[in-house]
Symmetry: C2
Subunit: 122 residues, 2 copies
DNA sequence: CGGGATCCAGTAGGATACTG
DNA sequence: CAGTATCCTACTGGATCCCG
């Protein structure tokens, strides 16, 4: 237990890739961030995220619930109310993602520039 | 400029999602980690990663090169030698990813358990 | 050795309409 | 309000063969 975080073993790489591809889809992180401060209801999330269809929001929330990142609470009223909230696991994810967000903000423009230049050179 | 890292604005969410989905594919992180310590040649990377086809390695490396994360150096010898190395940008990415790797190691088993339980309950 | 070209299957994302 | 059910398109991952 000397090296802080090897990130060398193939098993680790696959774990990282698995997590990255899990949360790297189009909507998951936006939903997680939307739920970070307070629980919200379905159409509330839908408005906050913007541009997401009911279908994709349903899928995203169901997958998050399945992974134990989000809880789903149904109030048997009419009209029905369903409230979604982050679990501790879901909140804990937002910490390392915050780091990545900083990196994204700092370097995304550079990446886009690199792409433009690469494409122009051919 | 009070809050350290808001991660609230929709624009930020999209940046994060863009980066996550960019590096969240099946092979990118494994290639980056393989190149982290020293430059390597094509088939060397292929052996290190394991299970990747030439096609996918070619695509992955080309995309990394386009984004300015990897340099491609051709030695005009016979047989040709092509060496790939991480750029500073590529190396800087491995830092926040290291954080996410720790999270992955710590919580991946829990997530898998949650999935099993969720699937069993229906 | 280091790819390019082609073809193919599976899945992610999305539009729309309908339901309890 | 909060979904479910269809249907469709585009992209990802991969296998195979060919080339300098």
């Amino acid at each position: 237990m000397d090296v802080p975080t090897p990130l060398d073993a193939p098993a680790d790489c696959r774990s990282v890739s698995e997590v990255l591809s899990r949360v790297g889809d189009k909507w998951t992180m936006q939903v997680v961030v939307t739920l970070r401060d307070q629980p919200r209801r379905f159409n509330d999330i839908k408005r906050q995220v913007g541009g997401i269809s009911q279908q994709m929001l349903t899928r995203t929330l169901k997958t998050l619930e399945r992974d134990g990142m989000v809880t789903r609470t149904v109030c048997a009223t009419t009209p029905p109310q369903v409230e979604y909230a982050l679990t501790a696991l879901g909140r804990s994810l937002s910490e390392p993602v915050r780091e990545l967000a900083q990196w994204a903000r700092a370097h995304l423009a550079t990446i886009h520039d690199n792409r433009s230049q690469y494409d122009a050179d051919r």
